[in-house]
């Protein structure tokens, strides 16, 4: 095929394959993070702008935990995988109780408040952990030989773990009593309250769960990416894109959109410059909100 | 009766669906200039939906609306106001944080910009407040008024537009006896210059004010006629007693 008309240089096939694999890893972590944002929006009807900071905090805490615990890297990492999401979840529940609940979950006020929380979390991380990027060692180190190049086995574990967690969330929402309570609250807050569902606690729990998912995603990715106090911006933006394109509050749409965005980001960034890709993505989100607010895959009933 | 020449507003096959529910079902309706028409019917008969279609708050699913012979089916609500159709809300919808004067200044401003450029907003606004007896409280915050007074302010906002068709959606709901008497006097006065269409539950008010009555049931016109005719209509009695 003649590619001479194409305004960008075609990359080597190996590079393209690497792009696809990177895209899958990104999709997996993105799906987890976006799922957290989507869950919070779906049940509580609020947009959490501080979501990316919960992600960042997960990564930074993973660094803190692994550097305190010595021994084999797997030990520190396993502890971090449990401790970081729990701490982040607790912080989220506390901020829900201290701030969001007092705003009565008014949508516009909540956005302003979560912007404030974004600054607070980000700046406190800068204060305590400093401006440098911090590495976390992967829990194990084996490479899988693929045609053309070797590939880190850890990345496959990231994908596997993300899939398991998403199935877990789905089971929680669709098959358990807790999920039933959440869905009832999502459907009609006042009715749920009238039926004796403790809406306050459900909301704190959902907000914690949403933040915790972002934190787990970050802990999983941090051996690949390093922890930094400004790392929350990209996942926030990408999660927004995923949730908006997938349809606000739709679980299936979120996963499909994460795959789409993750893969295309992996591939597109080998073709376009990352900045141009981001410009197009943000404009796409804006246009979707303007012309198709139910998302590209959603149906009109919200 | 010559409907063609004198009808102010008329509908043909007007229909509105909400999901699977048909709230208004192929209504052919005609209102003559100078009438005071009451629309009555059991709860859920589609009364508010019907008048909302007339004033353009919601678009119809099917059918047409003509106003003074002109098709206004697709005209946005604010343009219909400019043609002289005013609507007062069923649930009091005043500007609670603004003063009474600011509440009526807005429609007065609209009226003046359309018909009397250069007229004084203050004079026209105050005149509207005087008609409902609230002029002495012009600088108070509207949200502090009693419920009955808020209803009157709502009507004053409708009057300040100097409409040709004034649509009142349950204007006497929640008013006290004395306030209702005052309201009836007001409507009689307004009817001198405007055509009035009112949705009303209070049958005494309906019988006192209306020159004709339209009865809606399940989104369709069940009966239409003078108060005496409607009082004697068996189908209406059945709908009210059985429904």
């Amino acid at each position: 095929m003649d590619w001479s008309w194409f305004p960008f240089e075609m990359p080597h096939p190996a590079l393209l394959w690497a792009g696809v694999l990177e895209g899958i890893v990104l999709s997996a972590v993105l799906a987890l993070t976006a799922l957290g944002l989507s869950l919070v929006f779906g049940v509580m009807r609020i947009v959490n702008v501080a979501h990316g900071e919960f992600y960042m905090l997960g990564a930074v805490l993973a660094y803190a935990v692994t550097s305190v615990i010595g021994g084999h890297p797997a030990l520190g990492f396993t502890v971090a995988l449990i401790v970081a999401p729990l701490l982040v979840g607790a912080l989220a529940a506390a901020s829900d109780w201290l701030v969001l609940k007092r705003l009565n979950y008014e949508p516009e006020a909540t956005i302003v408040a979560t912007i404030g929380m974004l600054y607070i979390i980000q700046q406190l991380s800068l204060e305590f952990f400093g401006p440098d990027a911090r590495p976390v060692v992967a829990p194990f180190d084996w490479r899988i030989r693929l045609p053309w190049f070797g590939y880190s086995g850890y990345k496959f574990v990231v994908v596997g773990a993300a899939i398991l967690l998403m199935i877990g969330v789905w089971v929680l929402m669709a098959r358990t009593r807790i999920g039933l309570i959440m869905r009832a609250t999502q459907f009609d807050r006042e009715m749920a309250s009238a039926f004796g569902i403790p809406v306050d606690r459900v909301f704190a729990g959902v907000f914690a769960l949403g933040a915790g998912l972002a934190a787990i995603g970050a802990v999983l990715i941090v051996p690949v990416q390093q922890a930094h106090y400004l790392m929350g911006g990209d996942p926030l933006l990408l999660s927004f894109i995923v949730v908006i394109i997938g349809g606000l509050g739709s679980l299936k749409g979120t996963v499909v959109a994460a795959l789409l965005i993750g893969l295309s980001d992996g591939i597109i960034s080998t073709l376009f410059t990352p900045t141009l890709a981001k410009i197009l993505a943000t404009l796409l989100v804006a246009m979707v909100l303007v012309f198709r607010p139910q998302g590209l895959f959603g149906t009109r009933a919200a | 009766m010559s409907t063609v020449s004198t009808s102010l507003i008329a509908t043909e096959g007007l229909t509105r669906d909400f999901g699977g529910l048909r709230a208004v079902d192929h209504v052919d309706f005609s209102l003559e200039k100078g009438e005071v028409r009451a629309v009555i019917g059991p709860n859920g008969a589609g009364k508010t939906t019907f008048v909302s279609l007339l004033c353009g708050r919601i678009p119809p699913s099917e059918g047409r609306i003509r106003y003074e012979g002109r098709d206004i089916t697709r005209l946005p609500a604010h343009r219909r106001v400019a043609l002289g159709i005013a609507y007062t809300f069923q649930i009091t919808s005043i500007f609670a944080n603004l003063t009474l004067f600011d509440n009526v200044a807005l429609p007065a401003q609209k009226h003046l910009s359309l018909h009397h450029p250069g007229g004084s907003i203050r004079d026209y606004g105050m005149a509207a407040l005087e008609r409902v007896g609230l002029a002495d409280r012009a600088e108070e915050q509207a949200g502090n008024l009693s419920y009955g007074h808020q209803r009157l302010l709502e009507i004053a906002m409708g009057l300040a537009i100097h409409p040709r068709l004034l649509i009142l959606d349950e204007p006497t709901q929640g008013l006290a006896e004395g306030e209702i008497a005052r309201f009836e006097a007001l409507v009689r006065e307004v009817a001198q210059e405007s055509t009035v269409l009112l949705i009303e539950h209070n049958m005494d008010v309906v019988m006192n004010l209306a020159s004709r009555i339209t009865v809606l049931n399940f989104g369709a016109i069940l009966a239409e006629g003078t108060p005496e005719e409607i009082r004697a209509n068996e189908a209406v009695q059945a709908a009210y007693l059985g429904g």
Binding site: V47, Q122, Q123, V290 | I94, I161
Partner: protein, 305 residues
């Protein structure tokens, strides 16, 4: 009273020590930005999270016209304002199809796209690093705008004009409709006003103010950089207005002064100085949504405009 504010600002120019003199000039320009934000947020009730793009449109419109095309400051300044207003028109036509949270996110996304665009064309904009406008070019009709005293007086003049324009706007019939839309959009529509038209007008005016602030910033301080397009500069005007009092004429100035000095002071203590931005946002939205002047107006002085 508003004349008094301007007179006080002029007098301040002569008594302030050098550092604060420069800071106040900067504050006045940012206060014009906040005044414009208030037209949209305080009076019309629309919360934008993307006003940095309008400021940046003015800044880059003026800066690039001078840098790349060699325009004079006298021509580039109105061009910058026009850039802000034009962008406001385009964004408004699209974003005003949404309401509430949708509008916030759409404006945020457009502004983010704008910021990334300023990075993308690094060849011209020099990205985050930015570029400077030569001192020689920063003059209008014999006035040397790089001179500290002149700069201060020009900033006061700009602020004065902006404040009087805004006062005139909010007291005009259109201003009354804007407030009515803030209070109850559906009722306003049913009184015969087209909400879209008035919201679009408020957005364009607001964007023109932001563009004017950006254009003036470029000419007065000679620096043009992508930082001013970043989300930080969309949040700051919101914060200034919330702090000073939304829907008041002078409130944005009070908010800008206090916040500027608060951040300035904190940055001498720690590198995490943006912490005060976060704390102020949360505190204001939780306990003092009417801001300083709004609270004073409610409690003691209803006459404050």
């Amino acid at each position: 009273m508003h004349g008094g504010v301007i007179a006080a600002l002029v007098v301040l120019g002569f008594v302030l020590p050098e550092y604060h003199h420069g800071a106040m000039a900067r504050i006045l320009v940012l206060a014009v930005f906040a005044l414009g934000y208030n037209v949209l947020f305080g009076y019309t009730g629309l919360l934008s999270l993307g006003h940095a793009m309008f400021f940046a449109a003015g800044l880059y419109g003026t800066g690039l016209a001078m840098q790349q095309l060699g325009w004079s400051a006298a021509a580039a300044l109105p061009f910058g304002i026009a850039c802000g207003a034009a962008l406001g028109l385009v964004v408004g036509v699209l974003a005003l199809r949404t309401i509430g949270v949708g509008f916030m996110i759409v404006t945020l996304m457009f502004a983010q796209a704008g910021y990334l665009t300023s990075l993308y064309f690094t060849e011209y904009t020099r990205g985050d690093e930015g570029f400077t406008i030569p001192q020689a070019a920063r003059a209008i009709g014999g006035l040397d705008l790089s001179n500290a005293d002149t700069r201060y007086l020009v900033a006061v003049a700009l602020f004065g004009v902006a404040m009087l324009l805004k006062l005139w706007l909010v007291r005009s019939p259109a201003g009354r409709v804007m407030v009515a839309i803030r209070e109850n959009e559906e009722r306003t529509r049913m009184l015969g006003f087209d909400p879209f038209r008035y919201k679009l007008m408020a957005l364009v005016v607001s964007a023109a103010f932001a563009g004017a602030a950006g254009a003036a910033y470029g000419v007065l301080f000679g620096y043009v950089g992508a930082t001013f397009a970043s989300i930080q500069y969309s949040i700051l005007p919101l914060l200034y207005v919330l702090l000073g009092g939304a829907g008041t004429v002078i409130g944005p100035l009070i908010g800008t002064v206090l916040m500027f000095y608060l951040v300035d002071f904190t940055s001498s203590l720690t590198s995490a100085y943006n912490l005060v931005v976060g704390v102020a946002l949360v505190a204001l939205i939780l306990v003092a949504r009417k801001g300083i002047l709004g609270t004073i107006r409610d409690k003691w002085a209803r006459w404050i405009p």
